[in-house]
Amino acid sequence: MTYPEALVELIDDFQSIDDKMERLEYVFDLASEVNELPVAQWTEETRIHGCQSEAHVLLEIEEGKVSLKSGADSKLVQGLMGILTIAMDNLDTEEAKKITPDFAVDMGILNSLSPSRSNGFRNMFDKIMNDLEEN
């Protein structure tokens, strides 16, 4: 599928990194990309289930565009949210709905994660898509 420009750039960035350690560290660096959801706003509705750490995401639609706020007690998880923020934040809702989780495969990040973290990433993506459908 055709990805949004920011996501294409991010996929290129990851694909240019051969070293597993550097790729993982890049995910950590992307933790700064999230729009922070303060801990005080973490609720059962924002919780991402099936994640080994405490992870939350709030999706809102503002003038037809996706607004993502998120937070986690793990920097790696927050980095994964940073990827989703780059991929989906500020996109038109219809455009966001077309995104599939295959982009993570194209990035090659799943091989750098443990199975539980890969599963957590998928749960994050699914929650965002479900929230998007319900909005």
């Binding site: 560290e25 750490s53 793990s74 920097k75 790696l76 750098s112 994660l113 973290r117």
Partner: protein, 300 residues
Amino acid sequence: MLGDTLKGRAIVLTEMEHHSDIVPWQMLAEAYGNELRYVPVKEDLTLDMEAYEASIEGAGLVCVVHTSNVLGVRNPIEKIIEIAHKNGAKVLIDAAQGAPHCKIDLKELGADMMALSAHKMCGPTGIGCLLVNEQTFQEMKPFMGGGDMIETVTLQKSTYQTNEHRFEAGTPKIAEAIGWDAALGYLDNLNLNEQHQRLLNIARYVADELRSMNMTVYGRHDSDDSAVVSFLHPTMHSEDLAHLLDARGVAVRTGHHCAQPLLHRLGINGTVRASFYIYNTMDEAEQFIQHTKDILERFA
């Protein structure tokens, strides 16, 4: 297997147990109404022996971990057995963590049953064993029916093998048993006492270094304890540290280590655990410490 012996009697467990020594007893209690009693863990990470003595009356079975897979703490098994037997209770030792680090003689120890796991002692996954003393063996009944455990089968009734095969229904774990036998042969040729001392020295060095990095270390590493070092950084998530170590070629375990009640007692959700065994060297421990320092410098 011990259904009749345990009928109406309490089972004493501890807060330090692996889930594998909690969940089956909870299932049994749910089915037969046995009372479960838990011996608490004290602030110094040892079992509260006074509470244990107070809990033993009317108990039919005591199940206790020889050495904690989270803390490395070796429990006072001999004393626990003595108190249990004085009060007419049998004792099952979970030696999955303890047996790889020291030779344990079931008869000498005086326990009634002892469970082992192959993958903790250089063997394959998916196979373990339960050692049982003669008296307990005679009291045990088959709990799983099928091929190989029978003597005869008619449409009216089946009779069972009289030896240990009566507990092994179905096709045995042939490849795993052969693999474990090879692993045991290998371990048998090692001086486990020497290895224990060497590994404990590594664990003590690592624990001291981690403390100097402001980590909380959950363990005491006394002379009989095993060489596992569970630790936690004050701000960095255990999973994050583990992933970053993994990317540098260092394998550690994180999470609750299948001992959620113990972690709950410690007031935490998980730790990072470095487990040292016969294949590890002090040089590797030093590399692990250096990698940890590098990671904290960049990410903590």
